[in-house]
Every structure is written in structure tokens, then in C-alpha cells.
Symmetry: C2
Subunit: 456 residues, 2 copies
């Protein structure tokens, strides 16, 4: 009995000293991020000296070259590229759109949805039919829709606390709406921008083409409200829009990867990543310049504080998240091919806002309970202790099939401002806060430290 008590006590003491050690290590990580952080300056370079970098573009290649050079400059154990073929969609000239209310023509801000086809050269003009859902198309049927422009106008539901959920609840209109409208004979589709904010900025984003392709564009929320209002008074209102976007042949591009080699398990990996490509309307600052620069910063911090990981740790700049996910697929394919063991992957693609915590997919209830019990107190002083079930990201999702045992983790920054900027001309460096960005890097570096030290 005595021995048992002594053993329990020594386990308890060991646990306490391990907690104290972890606590010190995390404080060191945060100090490095907040005192000597480089993510903000790196992001500035990416945004201002390279700028938009849609997959397949010359700018995307510039971003790859610069990223590789930047990683090389930090002296990590290994920096390499992964070849991947990506789509190359181009927007062409600035889109034009008007509401035609009898003899009145009112210009409204639109932008072609990513992967959409062009209108005929002279544009498309047709009567508008407003719907709130895809289901409504079925009810209306071909007779009501044929020859018309379908206007998807279901707004964001403001009652969701996390704005990502409002995005999820409205997103089918952009992603699938145009292709479904095409089936019923629509000649074009206009989708309310996926945001709660009411302003003049249209939000682009991928639309999925079906067998029949019709031109599809996003309209600003102010434009959508105006169109809806006019339609109520004049149901015969027409809409005109013109865009000459184009799908060019696929292009060879790259994921860019930096690695700290594991001292005990070099073939076991913990990945942190975001996507290097962006939409073409601005600088891709919050989507996802912040994510890639935070991921790189995680590695820089761990190396700088002199941490020698047991497992290999990678920062991955994925290519083509926005309109194809080819980079994420390639990373998983190579992981399987090279028989890599992957413990966990964290994705940061929800902006560089103030940290809230992490969402976990692939942990048992008991394992998640353990994570909450042991790690929450360590992250609480940094306000990054929301540890919840569910999470991941588009780029790391394919790893789940390649390595079923992997734990996928979504970094959760505060979500309130993200969809004000997402996929718009407003997604610029000036809308990123330095400290918020740095705190995110530190939170992810801390979690990786804990996973590397203790596993799940």
C-alpha cells in the first residue's frame, strides 16, 4: 500500500513538473512571437510586393519562388517543392452589370464567380427571377426559369455566433446554384455576396460547373438589396451583365514545404499549413496570406527558441485551395506514396484574427477530454483555450484518407470580421492586425509543442 501511494505521488509530481515545464516552454514561444515576430513583415512583402496570386498566374509562381527563398533563409533542415498541376482561370476585363427597370438603367457592382464561363461578347440581358434557395428552383420548374437570369438572394443568417456557420448555410447558392439553374434553362445566375455586411463589394469564390455552363457572378449585398426591392415593384425588371473570364490550360505549380527534422521519429509528421494561392481581387491578405505566414512563423519560433522536436514538423504553403484543392490532394498523395506517418495537421485558413482555440477531428471523446483537461489550462492565459470537437480545413482534408489515424485540427481565430473581407477587393494587408497575427502563430506553435511532447 505504501509503495502504491509513493508511486501515485511520484506520478503526480512528475505530472506537475511536466505541466510547469510546458508552461515555461509556451511562455517562451509567446515571447518570441510577440517580441521578435516576423510574420507581419513577411505578410507585408507577400501582399505589397507580390499581391494577388491566383493559381496558374505569373504571380502565383512569383509567390512560390519567394516563399522557397524565404524558407531557405531561415536555415530549416529541409525546404522543398512538390509539383502539382493546377487550373488556370482568368477573370479578364472588369465585369459590368445593370438593373434595367423600364427605361432606367442602374449600374451595380458584380464580379464573375471563380471558374465561371464568360457571357456572350455583347453580354447577357434577361428577366430576373429571385429565389431564396435551390429547392425553390425545383418548385418553380423549367417553365418559370427558362431564358431568365436566376438571382439567388438568401442572406447570411446573423444569428449564428460563428460566421463560418452562416457562410456554410448560405454557400450552396454560390457553389451549386448556377449549375442547378442551368439545368432548368437559366441563361445566367447572379448570387448575393456571401457576407452579412451591407456594402458595395462583390465577393467572388468558386462555383461548380455542371454539364451545362452558364455565366455566374456575385452581386454586392447593396446591389442585391436594391435589385430585390425593384423586383418587388416591377417584377418584369431585367438584368444585364457582361464578363469575359476564361479557363486556360492547367499549369505546373507547387506546394512549398519547410521541415524541422524529428530527433526521435523523423518519419512521423506534424503539419501546419495554409494556402499560398489567393483570389484575384486583392492581395489575399487574410485569405490566406496570414495562414501561410503564421505557419512559417511556427517553424521559425520553434527553431529560434531552440526546441528540438521529437517528430518532424512541417510548414506547408498549399497551392490552389481556392479553385481546385490540387495542392492539398497532392500533399496527401505523396504522404501515402512516401509512407509518411502523420500524427496531426493544423490548417489556418480563417484569417489572422485574435485566437480563440482549435477544433479537432479524429480524436475519440476520451482523447479530446484528455486534451481539454491537460492542455486547456496551459492555453487559458493566452485566451486560446477553446478546444472543441470538429475542425480541419480544405487543404488537410485529403490526408484523412491517406493516413486514417491522423488528427485534423482547424485553427480557430475569432470569426466576426472574416466575411467582411473574404474574397473581395478589401482583403488587403491593412486589414490585418499585427498582434492578432502573432498571437495566432504562438498559439499554433504551442499546440504543436504539446502534441510533439505528449501525443494525444
Amino acid at each position: 500500500m505504501k509503495l502504491k501511494i509513493l508511486l501515485s505521488l511520484s506520478i503526480l509530481l512528475a505530472a506537475a513538473s511536466s505541466q510547469a515545464q510546458d508552461s515555461l516552454a509556451i511562455r517562451k514561444i509567446y515571447d518570441e512571437a510577440l517580441v521578435n515576430g516576423q510574420a507581419y513583415d513577411n505578410l507585408h512583402y507577400l501582399c505589397k510586393n507580390i499581391g494577388q496570386r491566383i493559381s496558374g498566374s505569373a504571380n502565383a509562381q512569383k509567390a512560390v519562388d519567394w516563399s522557397k527563398k524565404l524558407m531557405d533563409s531561415y536555415g530549416f533542415d529541409h525546404v522543398f517543392l512538390q509539383e502539382v498541376m493546377v487550373p488556370h482561370w482568368v477573370r479578364g476585363d472588369k465585369e459590368v452589370a445593370k438593373i434595367i427597370d423600364g427605361s432606367k438603367e442602374i449600374p451595380v457592382p458584380i464580379c464573375a464567380l471563380g471558374m465561371s464561363v464568360a457571357t456572350p461578347k455583347e453580354g447577357v440581358t434577361a428577366q430576373v427571377i429571385e429565389v431564396q434557395s435551390l429547392a425553390e428552383l425545383k418548385t418553380l420548374g423549367e417553365s418559370a426559369i427558362k431564358g431568365k437570369i436566376v438571382f439567388f438572394n438568401r442572406p447570411f443568417d446573423p444569428r449564428f455566433i460563428e460566421t463560418g456557420r452562416a457562410y456554410g448555410a448560405a454557400g450552396d447558392q454560390r457553389f451549386a446554384g448556377p449549375s442547378v439553374a442551368a439545368k432548368y434553362g437559366a441563361v445566367g445566375a447572379i448570387v448575393r455576396s456571401l457576407t452579412e455586411i451591407i456594402d458595395d463589394y462583390p465577393h467572388t469564390g468558386t462555383t461548380m460547373n455542371g454539364d451545362i455552363k452558364i455565366p455566374a457572378a456575385a452581386i454586392s449585398t447593396k446591389g442585391a438589396n436594391l435589385l430585390s426591392e425593384i423586383l418587388k415593384k416591377s417584377p418584369g425588371t431585367k438584368f444585364y451583365f457582361k464578363q469575359n473570364c476564361e479557363q486556360l490550360p492547367d499549369v505546373l505549380s507547387y506546394n512549398v514545404v519547410a521541415e524541422l527534422k524529428g530527433s526521435e521519429n523523423p518519419n512521423k509528421f506534424i503539419t501546419v499549413g495554409g494556402h499560398l494561392d489567393s483570389w484575384d481581387l486583392a492581395e489575399g491578405a487574410s485569405d490566406d496570406g496570414t495562414g501561410v505566414m503564421q505557419s512559417l512563423e511556427v517553424l521559425r519560433i520553434l527553431k529560434t527558441v531552440g526546441y528540438h522536436p521529437k517528430n518532424s514538423i512541417r510548414a506547408v504553403f498549399f497551392m490552389n485551395e481556392e479553385n481546385g484543392d490540387k495542392g492539398g490532394q497532392k500533399y496527401a498523395e505523396l504522404a501515402a506514396k512516401n509512407k509518411e506517418e502523420h500524427i496531426a495537421a493544423i490548417e489556418t485558413d480563417e484569417g489572422g484574427f485574435t485566437p480563440r482555440g482549435f477544433g479537432f477531428t479524429g480524436l475519440s471523446t476520451a482523447a479530446l477530454k484528455g486534451v481539454v483537461q491537460n492542455w486547456k489550462p496551459l492555453l487559458e492565459p493566452y485566451d486560446a483555450d477553446k478546444l472543441v470537437a470538429g475542425g480541419g480545413g480544405t487543404d488537410i482534408e485529403p490526408l484523412k484518407t491517406a493516413v486514417p489515424s491522423i488528427v485534423l485540427i482547424g485553427y480557430l481565430p475569432d470569426s466576426q470580421r472574416y466575411f467582411d473581407l473574404h474574397h473581395t477587393a478589401k482583403d488587403v494587408f491593412e486589414n490585418v492586425n499585427k498582434r492578432e497575427l502573432e498571437l495566432g502563430s504562438a498559439a499554433m506553435a504551442s499546440l504543436i509543442y504539446l502534441i510533439d511532447q505528449h501525443g494525444f
Copy 2:
């Protein structure tokens, strides 16, 4: 035994059903805030149609008149003014400052600190002595300081996670620095702006005058870095600045108060408030337009969802928080005089940023534990569940003396962006996010609901 079990069970069931009822009530509060919120539009009016409203100014009076009218329009049970005499400090002409490095004169951005005196008409020119702390003044002594301009240049410590702590750690330079420098014979004081951000905006704020008054100004962080750099190379560098701020006679002003009458305890009060006055460099949007508009919104929400409070609930727009605290003192004085019983007071004066939670002062450890146990799960779905010891605010602080049993509560929004804007020309409406503002109102309305229902 059986009876005991049945009783325990019925207590458990009652608790569960009360939790469920609370949960529904809070959901209703959030829905009203997020779907029909009026705080953002009200703040827009205050910022754009009234603007800066420093105590004693005509604009402060305009703000009082409009606030009273706005409160009247909501049909609360009682709306009234509390008379209070406030200081009336005016900035005068735009300040001018230059670093004089031999024959080179380099203009730098400064602004007079609130309550400071003017320079002589021709300005003041003197050699500069840079210090990092007030203690350093003592070490240097009168011989080193006499006839010079003291330059307080201790920066924000970026390692604090909550930026308010960095403000606290650097704030003595602004508040007390100039008066201490005056004692040693300095002819002026220049204080590094209280912020971590490196830019061209000087941050004003109150400085405390001693017996000897010298002109004191804040210099932008970029200006401070430049001055410090030049001083390292040329210790004989001089500084010139000119300001003609002035202290005018005190003015009659007002706290503006709205009240929902308690159905059970009309003489017991729960207060929520912010301050209506602002600094004069911008619109006082985040300091503290957001706070007053959130406080009003709390009452509007509770009234609109049909909640009939047991205790009286007040929204208070305090006057003169920035340079005198006269409104807060008056509110406490009248509370004592009128024998009001005050259960709790919440202050919102840290910006309208995304909610984190609340800090409590005046709760026993056991009572705080109860609050955490019972209310944290209710606030968790709204990411407003950081419930910690310590908190309050300048306006409600005097209530503690007037009503010792009161619980003082500080609303804790995320702190990362506050000191980028605080007391500068950047504190404008455009730097407030609608949803973040609304979530704050809802969090405070929810907490007030819980306090009103259950007490502590």
C-alpha cells in the same frame, strides 16, 4: 431516505429546468441583438452627427441632449439627467514640434496631453534628456534635468497578452511623468504615445498637474523612435514644441440615465454604463461611443424581448471619464444620498471589440466559483465565458465606497486592437465592427438577466 432522494431529485430537476429557461432567455437576447440591433446605427449618429465631445464643450452638450432624446424615444420607465460640474480644457491650435539636430529641423507629430498647460507663445526649445522611467529622474537629479525637456520613452511591453496591462505598465509616464519632471526643473515633457503600434499618430490622455506646471505632449511612436535614434548619435539634440491649450472655468454638464423599473425591488439597481465624453482628436467611437451605445442597447433588448426585471436596471452615460471622473463620482454620491441599493454595476469602456467575458470585483472566492459553475456554460456558446476575478472601471469605481456590498464588473472585449486607436485621430466609426459591437450588448444583457434572476 426516499423522501430525501426525491427532494434532491426535484432540486436537480428544478436547477436543470432553470438552466434551460436561462439558456432560452439568453438565446432570445442574442437574436434580438443580432437581428434587430440598433447600437451600430446609434453609434454612427453619435460619431458622424456629433463627433468629438470633450467635457465642457458645446458638442458634449449636444451629445447629452441627443442621448436624452434617444432614450426618451425608446419608452423606458424613467429617463433623467444628473447635474455635474466638469472641467473644460481646450486644445487650441494644432500643436507644432521639431527635432533640432544641429542645423537640421525635423517635424514630428505631437499632441498636447489633456489638462496640460500651454507653452510660451513662441514655443519652448531645449535640450532633450531621454528617460525610461520616473525612477530614472531621481537618479539623474535636478542638475541633469533643469532647463531641459524630459522625453519619457519606455515602450509598451509586447509580452502582455492583454494590452491593458501594457498600458498599465507604461501609463505612469503620461499620468505622473510631467509633474515629476517639473519638480526637477524640466521646462517641458514629451511622452511616447501609449501604444504598441509604430505609426504617426500621437495619443493624448490626461496628465496630472502638480504644483509646478510644465507643458506636456505625447509624441507618435515613430517620432519617439526617431528622436531616440538621433539622441544616440547627437546627445546635444534639441526639441521645439508649441501648444496653446487652456483650462477654462468648469461647466455644468450631465450624466444621462435610462431606467427599467424593477417589479419586485424597485430600489435595488443593476447599472450598465460607459462614458459619453470623449477626447477631442476624433469621434470617440471606440472610446467610448461603443460603450454608451451598448449600454443603451442592453436596456432596449431587455425591453423588446419583454423581460420584466425584478430589480431596476439602468443604462448610464457617464460624463467626464476622460479628464476628471466627475460623472462617476456624482452617480455614486447620488446613490448614497438617495439610499439606493446597488447590486452590481458593469462598465464597458475597453472598446466594442469581440467579447471575451467579464471581470468581477467584490465577489468572494466561493461566489465567483458559483458564477463560473452556473453561468459559464450559458455564456460558452457565445464565446463570452471568460469569467475572472478583478475588473470594474473608472466610472463605477466610486460606487464601491458609496455601496460597499456592490459587485463591480468590467466588460472584457478582446483587447488586441484597442490601443491602436485609443485617444487618437483614428478613433472613428469605421474602426468599429457591427457584429462585435452587437455581441457585446448581448453578452452584457445576458449577464444582467442572470444577475437579476439569480443574484450572486
